[in-house]
Amino acid sequence: MIEATNLTKRYGPVLAVDDLSFRVASGQVTGFLGPNGSGKSTTMRMVLGLDAPTSGHATVAGRRYQDLRFPLRQVGALLDANAGHPGRTARNHLRWLADSNVIPRDRVDQVLEIVGLTDVSDRRTGTFSLGMRQRLGIAATMLGDPEVLIFDEPVNGLDPEGIIWVRQLLRSLADEGRTILVSSHLMSEMALTADHLIVIGRGRLLSTGSVADFVERSSSHHVRALTPDAVRLARLLRDHGALVTEIGPEELSIEDFACRDVGALAAGAGLTLYELSPQDSLEDAFMEATHEQADFRATVHTLETTAP
């Protein structure tokens, strides 16, 4: 289990992490979600004792990370796949890590096998693609067969096959009862990977709960309807208390009404429907939750031409 209590990190005037408290439970994949620059990496670094919190604290398996003896046997973490000496071979990189925590060297070959790098294990990591480095980083997290695994954006740079592989790996690790914390700025990825979400924006906790709860709570439910009888359907729905927006001549957006209710009403009135679909995507929910918090939102500038 990972627990953060009132974690705060201040860099001069900037609050990178602001009074953040959460728990990461075992046996499930917990997604740590937030836009770029929202404080995910800083939080993970504080959990690992790399950066000292300005105030608050974090524990892993009930202890501060600095107080763990041979921590790789309890916690595996992948923060930056590009970290590591480019002149060292993959096998040697894992060897020094294994030595540092008295992990048998046989384990190095095992984890290389698990991540599929056996054939390139004697190549210098400087020659590796980002995807191969991610795999090596994942191999390193598993060296000590730890109960807690932390991954910062592990699918970055992986090909679609690799992404599916990571997803399945995280799932199987969680099914073995381990604690998995995985960060991402991609809601769609988390929807496929995580069971539980911790959503942050500008260093603050925005939401925590199951993926389904998150969507339930933070998105407004829209139903999109395509119909040649848009005007009549809109009137019918409004008569039943729905909030309807006419998007186009044949397209309606209906709020707080389920697809089945819209369909039933349309059928009752003999109206044709081409399409009826729920619009509560995770991405929408995420955008909505973090909208105010995004640090680097694109702004539209209007350029005015000034006459000389």
């Binding site: 004792g49 790399l50 105030s55 600095q66 107080d67 020094w96």
Partner: protein, 276 residues
Amino acid sequence: MTEAIHPRTTAVASDPHRTAVFRATVRSEWTKLGTVRSTYWTLAFTVVAILGLGILFTALEVGRWDQRTPQEIAEFNPLIYSLAGMNLAQISIGVLGVLMMTSEYSTGTITSTLAATPQRSLLLTAKVTAFAVVVVVVSIVSTMAAFLIGQVILGPDHGGLSITDPGVLRGVLGGATFLLFIGVIGLGVGAAVRRTTGAVAILFAVLLVIPGLVLLLPSPWDERVGQILPSAAGEAMAAPQQIPQLLSPTIGVLVLAAWALVAFGAGGLALARRDV
């Protein structure tokens, strides 16, 4: 804010397994050192410099022997000539010490290192230990070899010494110890500064630039300050007996040890206090 929920436990300091962690960390640092090419390059440079310059300088001396005045011959110090390569070797060993820390930062390895060994002062001590063992072996073997080859070249006719002559063994070992301390200074500066260029610049300034600047000081300060600089202290250590204008070999060791301790302390403080 209740900051004291998890006070830094003294349990870690008195942990009986701390030695196990230390031993594992030293072993890990050896693996790190042995698996990058820069280690082999800097050590090869060190050996070649010590042997090569030792051979060159003693051979030149033999060639010029006939032109020497009796006074020059009386003052001739064969040990210094056979260990002439230490002036170059201090650079490569110092740089190896620097790289042991700064390459951690430049490659991002430090994140994995501290995740594996979060006890930071223990980590730095283990790094110095692993480094020291390698440097001591390489420098003792190469200074001893340079001395022995040098004396063969000089021979009894040109002032050649025996290792059993008074102060000679201590001088040879002093030369090796000098290299070790310079390496530790490099490692400490590397830990404090974190960037290779900055740390190497500081090291070169202390070893090469400041000795020249000190000569410009008014007497007697040029001598007083000059003799406590690391290179001068090292020269004192590598001499069979005290050289005029230099410290005694014993004081030389202590002065150089103090330099190493200051650099190590600064590095330890930076590592312990600063975020990665």
